[in-house]
């Protein structure tokens, strides 16, 4: 990472990592840090300006905005981690099987991937939610199912290039089993590549979740989620812009905080970019 990183870029990385830490801490510590119950409705105190024990004011139902933002970090990050975990499991299973087995197994699995790749992801996700119904778990399922195919293709490509390497041949002639070769010689480099891809994609998926929630297809209203909060605040855009601004800002900052380290990770591990930068 020492190579291309100018002081500015390096500073940005530090800021992003600190931000990521703060957002993570917010998500973890929400129940202890939040001044109020995020779902406690108090119509007498609706649309309050900041102050009086409400650091960022209240929304149209008198709920504490600050508490909802803190709990929102929990929902957003939790959802995205769930999606990424599901995608990694699916794509590693499919990609490794296809790449290592080859033949008709490979063909069948890759044509299945192609089916998923033909649809625009957002439309397909909306369709899946239409079938499965709305809700947190279904959002995770829908987004994971619309994105795994890219990862599966990349995993397959990496496995194909790795399995013809000489060290795999050496392991085979020493009598090592297929499973052990996969686990010891093929998975580690594949996982390293996937880690880069996943950090770069986390922001994108977070926007996806928030987008679906904003449309009312994702996380359902009483749950404090940033997309839902923006949707709730729509009517008050002119009178109380802060209600929309803060959740929007949180989405923006979180997406950035994931993308910047992802970029750095890619630059550090990709020899082509590294020589150009250096």
């Amino acid at each position: 990472m020492s190579c291309a990183a100018s002081p500015v870029r390096r500073g940005l990385l530090v800021v992003a990592l600190v931000l990521l830490g703060v957002i993570g801490a917010m998500a973890l510590c929400a129940p202890w840090v939040a001044p109020h119950d995020p779902n406690a409705i108090d119509l007498a105190r609706k649309l309050q300006p900041p102050g009086n024990g409400y650091p960022l004011g209240t929304d149209h139902l008198g709920r504490d905005l600050c508490s909802r933002l803190l709990y929102g970090a929990r929902v957003s990050i939790g959802t995205v981690l769930g999606i990424v975990a599901l995608i990694l499991v699916l794509s590693l299973a499919v990609g490794c099987t296809a790449g290592y087995a080859g033949g008709w197994v490979d063909a069948a699995l890759m044509r299945t991937c192609d089916v998923f790749l033909t649809f625009p992801t957002f439309i397909l996700a909306m369709f899946l939610i239409g079938v499965l119904g709305t809700g947190l778990v279904n959002v995770i399922l829908a987004i994971a199912l619309t994105h795994w195919a890219w990862y599966a293709r990349i995993v397959r490509g990496l496995v194909l290039s790795l399995k013809h390497r000489n060290f795999v041949a050496a392991a085979r002639v020493a009598g090592t089993s297929r499973f052990r070769i996969l686990q010891r010689h093929i998975l580690p480099p594949v996982l390293a590549q996937l880690a880069i891809l996943a950090t770069l994609d986390i922001g994108h998926m977070m926007l996806h979740v928030s987008g679906l929630s904003f449309l009312g297809l994702g996380v359902q209203p009483p749950t404090p989620e940033w997309g839902v909060m923006i949707n709730d605040a729509r009517q008050y855009l002119w009178t109380q812009p802060a209600l929309m601004l803060y959740p929007g800002l949180m989405i923006f900052l979180t997406v950035m905080a994931f993308n910047v380290p992802g970029d750095h990770l890619r630059d550090a591990l990709d020899p082509v970019v590294r020589t150009q930068g250096g």
């Binding site: 033949g103 000489n166 060290f167 085979r172 020493a174 090592t176 010891r184």
Partner: protein, 284 residues
């Protein structure tokens, strides 16, 4: 000597299976490696040397198949064994050293982990630690400080060292037969000699049988007892090295030897000219 040969291949045929039916690539190869003998298999690139080896090991790629022939390791037929039983044979009854040692090790793992993998693949991890098992074989190939070497990553070692580590790995499970597929191809001249001398020493000390696959006539001449000449998937002639090299029966063998000699001649002429030149300047 009525001893059981280490390897006996009879009428082996390997074919590419395509839509037009099988296309034979190795046709009716028969060869025998007697116990404690080094048999050289020589031929040009693409003549089917390596395919024959893969066929013996049961590691043919998916589109190639053994269509005929029998393979026996130490008297036991191994063709048609189920994959897992064949996998257990590899490393235990027959070990392999490959060419290009630099690429035969996974850069992610240390040498120790490579040893552990080979032991673990044959359920031998239980008896003693990796160091205890690795140190004697490493010493045997001339690498004395096993503790240090096991902690190195492959890219921290030279090609010659890695080839010796590969031989140590092959010896780890004490297989009676070693298949050496171009063991000296990517090494510099000094490492080549070291590796060949090492193989000769191991053969004398351990009673190893070796199938030495190469396209280098001088490697055969240095190490092998018998030679098998192969071209276009067929064995042209075989016999004791001295007899075949002194009086080749086949025109191809003769041209192979002549090609080697002409290179050698050119080298000696240039060397002679150079020595003559420097000698001249020294005198003056």
């Amino acid at each position: 000597m009525a001893a059981v040969p280490a390897l006996c291949v009879t009428d082996l045929e390997i074919a590419a299976v395509g839509p037009q039916g099988p296309l034979p690539l190795v046709r009716g190869v028969s060869l025998t490696v007697p116990a404690n003998r080094v048999v050289g298999l020589i031929g040009e690139s693409g003549c089917g040397k390596s395919l024959t080896c893969l066929g013996i090991l049961g590691l043919l790629p998916g589109n190639l198949r053994r269509t005929r022939g029998e393979i026996a390791l130490h008297g036991t037929p191994v063709h048609g064994l189920p994959p897992d039983a064949m996998r257990r044979q590899r490393g235990q009854s027959v070990a392999v050293i490959l060419q290009n040692p630099m690429s035969c090790f996974d850069a992610v793992h240390t040498i120790r982990q490579h040893f552990r993998e080979t032991l673990g693949s044959h359920d031998r991890l239980a008896n003693g630690s990796v160091v205890e098992r690795a140190a004697p074989v490493l010493r045997e190939v001339g690498l004395d400080n096993a503790g240090e070497i096991l902690n190195l990553y492959p890219f921290q070692m030279s090609g010659g060292m890695l080839q010796r580590v590969m031989i140590a790995l092959a010896l780890l499970l004490e297989p009676p037969l070693l298949i050496a597929d171009e063991p000296t191809t990517d090494l510099d001249a000094i490492s080549q000699v070291t590796v060949l001398d090492l193989l000769a020493a191991l053969r004398a000390r351990r009673g190893l049988s070796v199938l030495l696959v190469t396209h280098d006539v001088s490697v055969i001449a240095r190490l092998a007892d018998e030679v098998v000449v192969m071209r276009e998937g067929v064995i042209l002639e075989s016999g004791p090295v001295g007899a075949v090299f002194a009086a080749p029966r086949h025109a191809y063998t003769a041209s192979l030897l002549e090609a080697h000699r002409s290179l050698d001649r050119a080298y000696h002429e240039r060397l002679g000219a150079w020595l003559g030149g420097t000698a001249g300047t020294e005198v003056r």
